[in-house]
């Protein structure tokens, strides 16, 4: 599904440069649910961004679904992102002047789907996250948990191969966090591959595999017993 070999990334800071990723090797199989952990500055977000094609590695190999991701133009990157990836952000990043349905349907718009089809699919995914009745509400009329569920519906809308979540519960309280995790787990149960960045142990333990980063290298990569979120809800 996803193969990363000897990935390096550094950022220029003034005259010197900051070496953020120092040779990451990672491979994720289809259907996995992986948590990437690490303290701030460990490079976990950078890794996720490179996987999400929002950023490009300086060195190394990255193969997604047998497609080598290299020397992407902005246009190609956009098309790949649209086709392969679904993003879930910490701060939801919904477009605040569009209602829930339009937000969910936006990736489909960029796929060039007809309006009717978009509404149909958008409603289907809203239904899936249990917010069909909220379809015409603007993001600021929704609670944090609801917003994140709309964001998840949006990530799912284009039917991506890989879901990338950057601290999906970072802006939510514990109870809502667990609700969201329960939902993400159910997506994984259906076979979606999920990669998430988190620094919360309890959230990480709800994944099936934990990759720990420190100073740009992988310290630990272990499969764990998944804690089901529904028991806390």
């Amino acid at each position: 599904m996803l193969k990363i070999k000897k990935l390096h990334k550094s950022y220029p800071i003034g005259d010197s440069s900051l070496h953020v990723l120092k040779g990451i090797d990672l491979s994720v199989e289809s259907g996995e649910m992986v948590a990437i952990m690490g303290s701030s500055g460990s490079g976990k977000s950078t890794l996720l961004n490179i996987i999400g094609m929002l950023d490009e590695a300086d060195e190394g190999e990255y193969i997604l679904d047998n497609v080598p991701i290299k020397n992407l133009t902005e246009k190609k990157a956009a098309i790949y992102r649209n086709k392969f990836l679904g993003f879930i952000f910490q701060s939801f990043n919904l477009i605040n002047y569009k209602n829930a349905l339009d937000n969910v349907a936006l990736p489909l718009y960029y796929q060039g789907l007809k309006r009717k089809e978009r509404i149909e699919k958008g409603l289907f995914h809203l239904e899936k996250v249990g917010l069909r009745d909220w379809a015409t509400h603007l993001p600021n009329e929704l609670s944090g948990g609801q917003k994140q569920r709309v964001a998840i519906a949006r990530a799912l809308a284009a039917n991506p191969k890989l879901l990338l979540a950057d601290e999906p519960t970072g802006a939510l309280d514990t109870k809502t966090s667990y609700e969201i995790m329960e939902f993400i787990q159910s997506l994984n149960d259906e076979g979606k591959t999920i990669l998430m960045v988190t620094h919360e142990e309890d959230i990480a333990n709800m994944c099936k595999r934990i990759v720990r980063l420190k100073d740009g290298v992988i310290m630990e990569d272990s499969f764990v017993e998944q804690v089901r979120a529904e028991q806390y809800v």
């Binding site: 999400g52 929002l54 950023d55 956009a78 992102r81 952000f89 990043n93 477009i95 002047y97 936006l106």
Partner: protein, 413 residues
């Protein structure tokens, strides 16, 4: 271009304009004002031009009047101060020998007392050729102008102005076929013309056949003055010089005698006026387009701020699969749309102003603006300029929007 006809493209435009209604409206004020000014000024300029054209419309403007005065230089044995009188043969020679002549119309004029029944008045009596009607178009209210058989038979017929009709005739009397007495000679009225707005040269109230005039005033071959009309493609100033030189030759006058002939070059005067109009039109376009450019820049400026504010949103859009081209296209469509919308309202309100001008100062015969309006062509040009400027100015924020990497755009708070 297909995207222009898709509902979603416009949905996106309306969504982002709706987001900040006040700002969208304020943005449009500049362009609205520019177009309003352009349309209003161009329409007014056209109105003034129309009023000039109405004044001169009946007149061959490429004309010069020449009459004889007194010499100021001795020549070939003649003392200075010799009285110069033009004759019919002079007129004929001018017509035959000067390049670019359309017509030469010899004219004579005299004052006289005109009487009808118990009403009378003093008017100028003109001896004229039928040709005059070609040069100084008479708008006949009734009857006809002098014709060739009047000339041949030296008929005692007169064509009178409406003004004279009012003075000499009772209300509702048909003047045609009635007789008036000019210097104790009866003339039959054959035509009545409406007073023109502009009378070039001496006022003309009554026209009688040239030949009749010759006879009753015992003029012989002498004429009062001649109207020379040049062909449109010829320079009337040159014609004036050529004609005067020829006339000096014919009348044995020193070639450099500047006072022997008087003249009034209507073409020259008219050119000054049309030059003024052209200048005014140029100024109008200049002011209008400059204002328009300023307005469009305001739109560009605001869009730049909007794009800056929307950096994160644009980042999100790109993260979920919008290509840079799609983002740019959207912003340019927005820019063009705002510009066009503002332009549309500008054209509309400009049109209203022109209607208002037409309803108030555009009415009546002596209005100094007539049918103040702009042609569809001008509106079309204005729209093309708007689309062009809108696209151009949209490019700046469009490139700005996609110059930020999506990763940095997402980090923006």
């Amino acid at each position: 271009m297909k995207f222009l006809f898709e509902r979603d493209t416009w949905q996106e435009v309306f969504d982002s304009l709706n987001k900040n209604k006040l700002r969208s409206v304020l943005t449009m004020v500049g362009v609205w004002w520019g177009i309003l000014l352009l349309i209003g000024l161009l329409g007014s300029a056209k109105g003034i031009e129309n009023s000039f054209n109405r004044l001169f419309g009946s007149f061959a403007t490429n004309s010069v009047f020449v009459w004889g005065q007194s010499t100021s230089k001795p020549f070939k044995g003649f003392q200075e101060g010799k009285r110069v009188r033009l004759s019919l043969s002079d007129a004929k020679k001018v017509e035959e020998n000067v390049d670019g002549i359309e017509f030469v119309v010899p004219r004579n004029q005299n004052g006289g007392q005109v009487v009808r029944n118990f009403l009378s008045g003093n008017f100028s009596i003109n001896g004229d050729y039928p040709l005059l009607d070609k040069v100084q178009k008479k708008k006949m209210a009734r009857g006809r102008f002098i014709n060739q058989s009047d000339m041949d038979d030296r008929r005692k017929v007169a064509v009178i102005s409406e003004e004279i009709y009012k003075q000499l005739f009772e209300k509702d009397v048909n003047p045609i076929g009635e007789y008036i007495r000019i210097n104790s000679i009866n003339f039959k009225v054959v035509g009545m013309f409406e007073n023109g707005n502009v009378n070039m040269g001496p006022t003309s109230d009554i026209h009688i056949p040239f030949t009749t005039f010759q006879q009753i005033y015992n003029q012989g071959e002498e004429i009062g003055w001649m109207m020379i009309t040049g062909k449109p493609e010829y320079d009337i100033k040159q014609i004036e010089l050529d004609a005067k030189l020829l006339l000096k030759n014919l009348n044995r006058i020193h070639p450099e005698d500047k006072r022997a002939f008087g003249s009034f070059n209507l073409g020259k005067e008219f050119a000054k006026m049309t030059g003024f109009l052209t200048g005014m039109q140029f100024l109008t376009w200049f002011v209008g387009i400059a204002t328009l450019i300023a307005g469009v820049f305001a739109i560009g400026n605001i869009l730049l701020i909007t794009v800056k504010e929307r950096t994160k949103e644009i980042g999100v859009r790109r993260a979920i699969g919008a290509t840079p081209f799609e983002i740019k296209r959207q912003i340019i469509v927005e820019a063009v749309f705002i510009t066009l919308l503002a332009g549309f309202f500008g054209i509309l309100s400009g049109g209203w102003i022109l209607i208002l001008i037409d309803k108030t100062i555009g009415q009546g015969d002596d209005a100094w603006m007539v049918n103040a309006s702009v042609s569809i062509g001008v509106v079309f040009i204005a729209l093309v300029i708007l689309i062009f400027l809108g696209t151009l100015i949209g490019l700046i924020p469009a490139f700005k929007a996609t110059s930020v990497k999506p990763i940095d755009a997402l980090r923006e708070e």
